[in-house]
Subunit: 245 residues, 2 copies
Amino acid sequence: MTQPLRDPKHLSAEGLHGIFPLPEGRTLDICLKLHTAILEHRLAPGVKLSEDEVGEIYGASRTVVRAALQALAHSGMVSIEKNRGAFVARPSIREAHEVFEARALIEPRIARMAATAASDADLRELQAHIDAEHEAVAAGDMGKALSLSGLFHTAIADISDHHVLANMVRSLISRSSLIIALYWKRPDTACESHSHHALMKAFEERDATAAEEIQKSHIIDLHSGLDLKERQEQDGSLKDILADT
Amino acid sequence: MTQPLRDPKHLSAEGLHGIFPLPEGRTLDICLKLHTAILEHRLAPGVKLSEDEVGEIYGASRTVVRAALQALAHSGMVSIEKNRGAFVARPSIREAHEVFEARALIEPRIARMAATAASDADLRELQAHIDAEHEAVAAGDMGKALSLSGLFHTAIADISDHHVLANMVRSLISRSSLIIALYWKRPDTACESHSHHALMKAFEERDATAAEEIQKSHIIDLHSGLDLKERQEQDGSLKDILADT
DNA sequence: TAGACAATAATTGTATACGATTAGAGATTG
DNA sequence: CAATCTCTAATCGTATACAATTATTGTCTA
């Protein structure tokens, strides 16, 4: 057997390392748990993250929870308001544009480098990623599928072996997850992984230029798949939810 | 009178805001103080930042100092080692390359946007920056001059009004300061601000393409001004310093 | 009944105390 | 004399307690 579908390393803590420059410990654990929960859309933007509550859930004191929340704030996934507490971030429409513009600038370059640097093992890893994503879709776990779709991009960043740019990409991908939760046009359609397959092909052929081009249009596609019209601050209040009952 | 040489806003906390997603308070103060101290090369790479010590200096408890150090760690200026403490970061040669590669990718784009977006007031601000830098050089305060030279780049990032990319640039500039402290070839020569003047000219003419080009070669120049040969980990030990005494 | 005000409850900001880990000096031994 | 070991002092990791701020509920009045 060829170790098919083994969990891509990016599901484990390993794949997230680098975003949080923290010594290993409980603080990092909590960061990672909250991070994946947000990536899988189990924590919606705007949700309050009370220190006591989080601490009780994970069996840690407020000290360590606070450090975790501040770390998440630095990567843009949590916003902390003075004397009010921490909330899952709600990226503005403007920030959404900026995030995808930044991705369109950085990720094609990353893809180019990755195409050159990718080993056969790396390619297997990427393929495992795609397979795992399909599997999640088949199982109906859209949250996980979306999360894996994003993690595919960070996997490429890791392969490029450019730590500085890779960390930027990681942060951008995480925020993209929140942006998608807020502004994605068609919640039903799976993130079309057609581009991911095309990227795989370019990687297999070690075609750096193709990889760069495909990645660029892929990001632009994603950007245009968002509904970023100015509308009146749907503040997620009860008004919308209970309007017609 | 024409308010000449008024302090550019980037000397104040305002200019650094955005890098540290912290609610205003003592934690932010300490972040900013340490940050400017590092930018002005008054804190050398590798220096230990003891929690007690820093706390005593700024009259704060360890709780708040810890938060500040962790924030600085997130922006890459401080490295925290488990059970050992916090130190001013010592970027590796590899990281030095990566930082300047990232700058060469992002900053030209930023310069292009800034050239389009710059108001007359922005241009005056930039000019004030250059003047202040000259002044610092004349006064022999090389630390401040170098710091201002970096802040000139963040000022451009602010003008571009692209918050996401601007924050990335800020982080890269901060790390560049450490890299320059470690690897700059000619410690005597002032950071040749010729390119800065050329940039100013492009901005005044609102020539986006020129600004982009100038910025790109400026960054490449800076990169090549570093001595990044692999040498045996000058660990700053006493052996080198006291070898022939 | 609607609006303003006041008291209470809940949550965060900060300080401090205690346990755990590490670094370094000094003693011990081959 | 050199290397190793042990012990002590200093520093970090974490928990908890208290102070300050905020949000909410309940009450009063026009």
